[in-house]
């Protein structure tokens, strides 16, 4: 478990303290994928670097499995860092070393000298990330997605229990992003690794994260299960992120529908409710008419969800809402 207690960070610039992160407390559980989303400058790079102490907090306490990170001496900190893998937006591979040597690098840093053991581990990691054929290439000869796979293999070399992802897909095209995220999800599932990722894309959070914290100007403004935050964003910054992920839906904004007659409702289905024909049944039973204004059915990680914006008319609307809620559908009225 990663535990932040009253952690804050400010930078000293020209004799003045510039706050980067306001005091916050946060727990990240073992084996979960935890996303931190924020615009650039919100403090997410600083936050993720507090975990392996690439940035030292100005105050507060950072505990990893009960170990107070800020109290560690140099050698102990280096030993702890070997248990925390990290991947980066720009990959940060050694350009003078081959793929295999890049992956072997953390093993050698940790003092492994047995060439046979190193090779066996490197081969295993190459297979995991699907780069068996590229062992003797140099980073410059690889595509962005392949470079990130090397980064992931390197991060996993010392069998860490935590993997930090610093905008790991931000420099990749959408297809490559999807395949890298899939690999991360697979690693999380199979190795039971805790993953902490920072991103500015809600879509990344939606695809792989279990929980998310939204960071705005150095402050965690909202956090919780991705489905809750994603379907019911409260803070304006969260809304903006959700809107980016759901452009046609406009996530519950009333503005485009003010001229539409009837009551404007937003229905959220989650899990099994997504697959039941509740809406049609309720409409038949209560005699209401509805008109779909916007909608989407997708997944949040492994959870299917649907979100429909409807205009509903007729005398039985109140009755319909009760029936829909009874079927496990969450409803918000946008024009009430």
């Amino acid at each position: 478990m990663i535990r932040f207690v009253d952690v804050h960070k400010s930078y000293r610039v020209d004799g003045k303290d510039i706050p980067a992160l306001q005091p916050f407390s946060l727990d990240i559980a073992d084996g979960e994928v935890f996303g931190i989303i924020g615009h650039s400058g919100a403090g997410k790079s600083t936050l993720i670097r507090l975990i392996n102490l690439l940035e030292r907090p100005s105050g507060g306490s950072i505990l990893i499995d009960g170990t107070e990170m800020t109290a560690l001496g140099d050698a102990a900190l280096r030993a702890q860092r070997r248990r925390i893998g990290m991947i980066f937006q720009h990959f940060n591979l050694l350009s003078s070393q081959t793929v295999a040597d890049n992956i072997a690098f953390p093993l050698r840093l940790a003092g492994e000298t047995d060439a046979g053991k190193i090779k066996a581990r490197v081969d295993e990691l190459l297979r995991r990330v699907g780069l068996e054929a590229h062992a003797s290439k140099y980073p410059a000869q690889l595509s962005g997605g392949q470079k990130q796979r090397v980064g992931i293999a390197r991060a996993l070399a010392n069998r860490p229990s935590i993997l930090l992802c610093d905008e790991a897909t931000s420099a990749l095209d959408p297809q490559t992003t999807a395949s890298v995220l899939e690999l991360l999800a697979e690693i999380n599932r199979e190795l039971k690794l805790t993953i902490v990722l920072i991103t500015h894309e809600m879509d990344v959070v939606r695809r792989v994260c279990d929980r998310v914290a939204v960071l705005d100007a150095g402050r965690i403004v909202e956090h919780g299960a991705v489905a809750d935050v994603f379907l019911h964003p409260r803070h304006p910054t969260t809304r903006r992120f959700v809107n980016e992920a759901l452009p046609e839906e406009a996530a519950g904004e009333l503005a485009p529908y003010t001229h539409v007659p009837g009551r404007i409702l937003r229905l959220s289905f989650r899990g099994e409710a997504t697959w039941t024909p509740a809406l049609g049944r309720v409409a038949r039973d209560t005699g209401v008419d509805f008109n779909i204004l916007a909608g989407r059915i997708d997944r949040i990680k492994d959870l299917p969800y649907g979100q429909l914006t409807l205009a509903m008319q007729g005398s039985g609307v109140d009755q319909a809402l009760v029936a829909l809620r009874a079927a496990g559908i969450e409803i918000e009225e946008l024009n009430r």
Partner: protein, 229 residues
Amino acid sequence: MSAPLLQSLFPNIDDWAELGHACIDTLLMLGGSLALTVLIGLPLGVLLYLTGKGQLREMPKLYAALSLVVNILRSIPFIILMIVLMPLTYVLVGTKLGIRGAIPPLVIGAAPFFARLVETALREVQRGVIEASQAMGASTWQIVRHVLLPEARGGLIAGTTVTAIALVGYTAMGGAIGAGGLGDLAYRYGYLSYKSDYMFVTVVLLIVLVQLLQMVGDRVVARFAGNRQ
């Protein structure tokens, strides 16, 4: 080229063997001083880099002190540095003359210059790569040895070439005050005795030497640079 032809082209050069010796002396001075310059300048450059602002081992006072010494040594014209250092040279190698006497001032003159080139080359290494190594639990020494030096080797080799060429110039200057080598011949015969053919031949030899050094340096850089972004 036959001996009579050489005789007619360069009438004042009566002892070609002396010229050959001078060449060898220059090469020995160059080789010896370059090796020592790299040996001293490389760690000095690494230290300058590490203690610099915002770097791994930021130490503003040490950096300022090192920087000052380097700047002072670099701002003294080499011929004056050589004269100033004569007592020290005598203490270090037991003579002020010849190849041995030339090497201490050559090294003291060139090492600070090389150290600056090393510092500049190391600054070109991407910060992210260093950060990634820190995140992997690398110590400062491991980062220097396994990240900074290999990643910067193109720049380091180019810096060595530039330094070697600067040293060729220094050895020639050293010739004027008793170091021997091609500079000595050019100065004694070419300048003091008006034998312009000596001047011509030594200058041509120096040009050839510099060209060779640059070519070799560029080749080596290209070999290592082939795999890089």
